[in-house]
Amino acid sequence: MTLLEIDNLHLGLRTADGIVHALHGVTLHVDEGEMLAVVGESGCGKTVTMQTVLGLFSAREIAYRQGRIGFAGRDLLELPEDEMRRLRGSQIAMVFQDPMTALNPTLTIGHQIGEAILAHRRVSRAAAMRQAVALLSQVGVPQPEMRAAQYPFQLSGGLRQRAVIASALACGPRLLIADEPTTALDVTIQAQILALLRSLQRQYGMAIILVTHDLGVVAEMADRVAVMYAGRIVEEGPIDAIFSRPSHPYTWGLLECLPRLTTLRSQKLRTIEGAPPDLAGPLPGCAFADRCAHAMSVCWEYLPPMFDAGTKHQSACWLLHPHAAPIAEATRLRQSASAPDEKGLPRGRA
């Protein structure tokens, strides 16, 4: 059952330096109860997409907006503000990247979680506070009553993020958007938070969109992956397909960049040459063409549509067009990365 469906979303934002064309036709969907990972480097539009879903941009900031965002049968882009407000926090919730800045420093944790409850349920203050404490305990915060009365600066990074997750869960959302939830945390805490998200997902049966730039995180968590570049989805598919049969040069680049246990000391770390394009200017063809080792003339002239790369697996690359010659490297990659282990993940992944 499709829960959220973003269809050909175009978005331009006003900034101090003019209009930035942030999204160029983003299309993706999330089904009930599944975890979708959205991967891409900084500035590719992942956060912008998520914030557009929740309608967090003010009318003044938006230069233009086209497309459709379907949720539970309604188009979120056409929804009046008060209905949007009722949806936020209760049906769709968001966990922001940095828990320190996502929490108001002068209000207690309990107050902020309680607020989220009171915004949507008609309960007494005291009942909301009790529920806040219960939520804190659910997300694994020890001594929840004490913590609820404390301020954000009194908690460690991991506890803060748990508190933020607690406030997101307050009304039992059907969709949780976690925008780089572990980027600001230590590696050991990262693992804990991710485990927490997994268990909460099973418990609540909610769908999760996990936005991240870290493929390692994706490998552990996601059911499906969408790879994003310069405001478009360039590849999307089930997790094992993406890791074992990646079909877009950008995805190849991302995967190659990951150091592996088998990487020798003497090998240089691989990078993708170049930098993402400036989103203030027009982009006639594939945005990745300038950095792509396999680029053809067509790549600069025409925008590649989504091609089928397998079951429920798509990639926006002209290499998949019948006219394109098969390339040695692509074949090599596919061959070396195939024969996955029992988890369905490519060899060499920790």
Partner: protein, 312 residues
């Protein structure tokens, strides 16, 4: 808007599927325009600041040439023409001694602007030296020096200026000295803060590690980068000094006769509210306000332009 072609109907011909080396514009290197040019550009976009700047220029210009535009000296009395409203002969009218208000206004401008600029500049000198040393030396010296500043800060500027005036007696330079006596505190704090911040910057530590002597570090790295906020503070000190001078005049502690500043002119013309010849009061009062507005607008614009956070 990016140039989109419809997904479904697309089927490019076979020839364009040949591999192509990267286009000439493969690397979009975003060149950040020189910092100074960027600041000037942002300043230029602020209409209020630009207006302020040109007003200042116009005022200084008029202060220099204004008195020579009319055939009257500022202290030339002509009792036959006393108390005349603005006319073709006396553009700003005359006062009760028959003196031309236009000439007096621009001569007064010289005094007021001189006091304003000089006091602000001296504040800068004392503040930079004190704050610079305190910040750079650091440690206990810094602590002690800043404690002194904190203590002196408790006394309101106008109050201490008045007290100093009472002690030093009337005079153009005593006014300036009295104003600077406690006026430098703000600048000292600012400079010290800047120096402290910059001292911590890695490239300064790197320069030190390379053996570059302290004085060079201070002069070539710290000061130029701290210049921004210091310049803003300087620009905003001028209107404060002009205000203080005017306030002192109202209290009878302004520049002594025969000199006349805008402040003393305004103070002496208070009575015209009741007598009706308010042009005597209007012109100096208007120009004090205009000058303060211009410096405030320009100083504000400068501060916004220097703000590293690009926010409108």
């Amino acid at each position: 808007m990016s140039v989109e072609r419809a997904h479904e109907t697309l089927d490019p011909p076979a020839e364009v599927f040949r591999p192509r080396a990267h286009g000439p514009a493969a690397k979009t290197v975003v060149v950040a325009p020189g910092r100074r040019r960027e600041i000037v550009r942002r300043l230029g976009q602020n209409r209020l600041a630009v207006a302020g700047f040109w007003i200042i220029v116009a005022l200084v210009f008029m202060a220099i040439i204004g008195p020579s535009l009319v055939p009257y000296a500022y202290d030339e009395q002509n009792l036959l023409e006393a108390n005349e409203p603005p006319s073709g002969r006396h553009w700003f009218g005359t006062d009760d001694f028959g003196r031309d208000v236009f000439a007096r206004t621009w001569t007064g401008a010289r005094i007021s602007l001189f006091v304003g600029f000089t006091a602000a500049f001296l504040d800068l000198v004392v503040g930079v030296v004190y704050g610079g040393i305190s910040g750079y030396v650091g440690g206990t010296t810094d602590d002690v020096m800043m404690r002194v500043v904190d203590l002196l800060y408790g006394l309101p500027h106008l109050l201490s200026t008045v007290l100093f005036m009472v002690v030093l007696g009337p005079g153009l330079f005593t006014i300036i000295v009295a104003m600077v006596a406690t006026g430098w505190l703000g600048m000292a704090r600012l400079v010290r803060g800047q120096v402290l911040q910059l001292k911590e910057l890695e490239y300064v530590q790197a320069a030190h590690a390379l053996g570059i002597p302290s004085r060079r570090v201070l002069a070539r790295h710290l000061i130029p980068n701290a210049m921004g906020p210091i310049l803003v503070n300087l620009t905003l000190t001028v209107p404060a000094a002009i205000f203080t001078e005017a306030a002192l005049s109202f209290l009878g502690l302004g520049v002594p006769l025969p000199l006349a500043s805008w402040g003393t002119m305004t103070a002496q013309s208070l009575v015209t509210i009741l007598t009706g010849d308010t042009w005597r009061l209007f012109f100096p009062a208007f120009f004090i306000s205009l000058t303060m507005f211009a410096f405030n607008a320009f100083g504000d614009g400068l501060r916004d332009a220097l703000d590293p956070r690009l926010r409108r």
